[in-house]
Symmetry: C3
Subunit: 107 residues, 3 copies
């Protein structure tokens, strides 16, 4: 089994959860914040059997889109210090960290 720690944009979450449930994939949603833009995003934990991995990755690729985003206004004083000012940046559709699950228990 693998655990996909998947960071996506909030706008894609309803469609992604719907698509995962329809294909019988389990998922847990955690609210999170991007370290750079300081805007809200979503971290999903998705435990998936090895042989279904490609199916889940294809599903995520289909649903999650790249977008331009502005930093959170809370960053205004920092914006200058970073030199990037408050320019928009392109935020990916999904960032996925895949980790090996040594043991899975359902109590």
């Amino acid at each position: 089994m693998k655990l996909l720690i998947t960071i996506v944009q909030d706008q894609d979450v309803p469609n992604l959860l719907e698509a995962l449930a329809e294909e019988e994939f389990g998922a847990t949603r955690l609210s999170s914040t991007g370290g750079f833009l300081r805007t809200g995003n979503t971290t999903l934990l998705i435990g998936v059997a090895k042989e279904k991995l490609d199916q889940v990755l294809d599903l995520i690729k289909k649903v999650c889109k790249k977008r331009e985003q502005a930093p959170s206004s809370a960053l205004l004083p920092f914006g200058k210090a970073r030199g990037s000012g408050l320019r928009k940046v392109v935020v990916g559709g999904a960032i996925i960290f895949m980790v090996e699950i040594e043991r899975f228990e359902k109590i």
Copy 2:
């Protein structure tokens, strides 16, 4: 050392945290949401030495109970599409993903 990424129902969290602290196990609590029912649950991170693993698993089994739960009312429009309507489902006591910790640092 192993990291237990443990998803439990909110009702069991106070008793579980109390039991873990009494047996000197460390834990960190994250609020989360179930991907299917969209109702609130809790994700606990529990770092534990290999030789204490069975003790922690027994403790979780003792405290966390199976229950019937209805989907969040926010799902109403989806409920039909899933065919399951808004029937109650049985939610396990705990879902545990165990991951190997390569290195532990306490700064």
Copy 3:
């Protein structure tokens, strides 16, 4: 690539995120709660290339400080049961669980 699951005190988070962004390290922030004191803290997910690991660990050591903290007042009834009463405890600068990332995808 390694994933650092890093638990720090809320007071250190703004400086830590600023320092990570300046050195081009990615990070995702999750709000969390300590299992023992039940006070708010922060869990950061930091995906980092193996050869940059020491640089990130040094950065965390520089920013995150040990402090004395009192348990959350919500614990009052438990406090007696723990025998520790509501004495202050020393909370570390950072707790870091390092996990091997088998595969990284940016969609």
